[in-house]
């Protein structure tokens, strides 16, 4: 079966700084893959290359076997199929919660504003934010903002959703409500690529965990294997460091 997302020998550098180095990985449809690794190991850049917010220098990124990283491809149709949620929420501060969600529905998918409102309202209700529709982002807690950002991405009904350290900017007591949303997504058929520092969560939710080191896949496997019996020395070191805190 064709992998949903396929990274083939991907290289990416910013100036002299190589961020992704010959990275290769296949992700199946509906699979949940978490990326762990030290800061600077390439987690965020990897995700941004999958929805073409970054252009890769060498190699290929494939979506359903189709080379989306090819030179000169229009990124917009691809971004409709691959959503992303950012560490810092990036909601549009001048728009209400509802409008944040419906903007792309009307302007990109061409939905009528009535249909867009209905879709947004359904999602807000599903994630317990129905009464926040007319509120502005600044009036929400961080956890609520991030849930809105997830809904905004989900409303486009993407096939793949990239979650880029979505709890790193949150107060500890707000992390749970955001992770609950992600738990609900698992098994819905959507493919999830998650960059995270939440080891317990990565272990719980992932079908596979991928440890990145210096822009390459150092080790990938089932969560129980990565966290209980890591084979690679660098994975062992990283987990020791994380756990000693």
């Amino acid at each position: 079966m064709t992998p949903k997302v396929s990274l083939r020998g991907v290289n990416k550098s910013f100036g002299a700084n190589t961020v992704l180095h010959d990275l290769t990985l296949d992700v199946s449809a509906g699979e949940v893959v978490s990326f762990i690794g030290a800061s600077g190991s390439g987690k965020t850049t990897l995700l941004r290359c999958v929805n073409l917010l970054e252009q890769i220098d060498d190699g290929a990124v494939l979506l359903d076997g189709d080379e989306i990283s090819a030179v000169g491809r229009d990124p917009n149709p691809i971004r409709r199929r691959v959503g992303i949620v950012f560490q810092s929420f990036n909601l549009f501060p001048h728009m209400s919660v509802l409008r944040n969600i419906t903007l792309a529905l009307t302007k990109v998918l061409g939905l009528s504003s009535g249909d867009a409102d209905t879709r947004a309202a359904e999602l807000l209700a599903r994630f317990g934010l129905a009464e926040k529709a007319s509120v502005y982002p600044d009036q929400l807690s961080g956890g609520q903002q991030q849930r809105v950002a997830i809904i905004r991405a989900l409303a486009m009904q993407p096939e793949v959703l990239l979650l880029d350290e979505i709890t790193s900017a949150l107060d500890p007591e707000l992390v749970g409500e955001v992770l609950d949303v992600v738990r609900e997504l698992k098994g819905s058929g959507i493919t999830l690529l998650i960059a995270t520092h939440e080891m317990a969560f990565a272990r719980e939710i992932s079908d596979r965990v991928c440890f990145l080191h210096a822009g390459s896949v150092a080790e990938v496997g089932a969560p129980s294997q990565i966290f209980s019996e890591p084979q690679d020395e660098r994975t062992q070191q990283f987990l020791r460091r994380v756990r000693s805190h």
């Binding site: 929805n51 950012f86 990036n90 549009f92 903007l103």
Partner: protein
């Protein structure tokens, strides 16, 4: 209502030591402000009339009869200033926005457009307004255009608009640059094109942030409209000059100044108010003292 009165009469809220201290401080500050204002006023009222030539100055600058006589003519002439202001302002905003967008374009193919926009703002901000009004206001009608396209009023306004659009374009550009790159990333990641991203996400935030400096430029434009008179149109400054020459009295200039102030001061206060409001809105915490 009854409840409110009752509260005010019967129930004095007890103040903490700090609140009492702050109240004393506030009272002391207003007292000092009032006293110093009084001293300055008294000094002006008492000292200026003692100057050796005060009588003559009073007669040639503050002649009440002359004021009464000139005022209607000056107000009529001021109407032209208002009209020039009214038709240049929208043109300035549209042109400035186009220039700012051109300067912010990222496509390599648009380099000539970016360079042109940069050159435009550099030239417009580099040449004195008066000089530009002379050059355009006399130069273009000199090409031999037919009426009404050869009017100095028209080309003077165009020159003024060109200069100001250079300044306003820079204000817009600063606003656009101040919107964080992550906002573009969020918009583009949802599949919006770069034009849609600019229109729905970047520009609305940018314009909101630069409203106070834009109003500042408007206040400035409102005064500089008078410069168009230098190439002929009889607006308030020129009318005041005509009256001055006719009556050998400077009072019309004072009246013209007062008419300008009557418009610019409210406009300036509004600018300040909006500026403060924006500051309060965007800065979460304030330093206590």
């Amino acid at each position: 209502m009854a409840l409110g009165l009752h509260r005010r009469a019967g129930h004095q809220p007890r103040l903490t030591t700090r609140q009492q201290h702050e109240r004393r401080q506030r009272r002391r500050s207003s007292l000092i402000a009032a006293a110093s204002t009084l001293v300055v006023l008294v000094a002006v009222v008492l000292l200026v009339p003692r100057m050796p030539r005060w009588d003559r100055v009073k007669k040639s600058f503050f002649d009440v009869d002359q004021m009464r006589d000139s005022f209607p003519r000056l107000i009529d002439a001021f109407w032209l200033d208002v009209k020039i202001f009214a038709w240049t302002t929208p043109a300035i905003f549209v042109l400035a926005l186009l220039i700012a967008l051109a300067r912010n374009s990222r496509s390599p193919a648009l380099f000539p457009l970016r360079a042109l926009a940069a050159a435009y703002t550099d030239v417009m901000r580099g040449v004195p307004v008066i000089l530009w009004i002379y050059l355009v206001g006399f130069g273009v009608p000199g090409l031999g255009l037919e009426r009404p396209y050869n009017s100095p009023l028209l080309w003077g306004s165009v020159a003024l608009g060109m200069t100001y659009s250079g300044y306003v374009a820079e204000v817009f550009r600063a606003g656009i640059d101040s919107v964080h790159e992550s906002q573009r990333a969020a918009a583009r990641s949802l599949g919006l094109s770069s034009a849609q991203t600019m229109r729905f996400v970047v520009l609305p935030q940018a314009v909101r942030r630069v409203v106070p400096p834009l109003l500042n430029d408007l206040v400035s434009l409102q005064k500089d409209v008078a410069l168009v008179s230098l190439i002929g149109p009889i607006e308030i400054l020129r009318q005041a000059g005509i009256d001055k020459a006719k009556f050998a009295n400077f009072t019309p200039y004072v009246v013209a100044a007062l008419i300008f102030l009557a418009v610019t001061i409210p406009l300036t206060r509004l600018t300040d108010y909006l500026w403060q409001r924006e500051r309060r809105r965007t800065s979460g915490t304030r330093v206590a003292a």
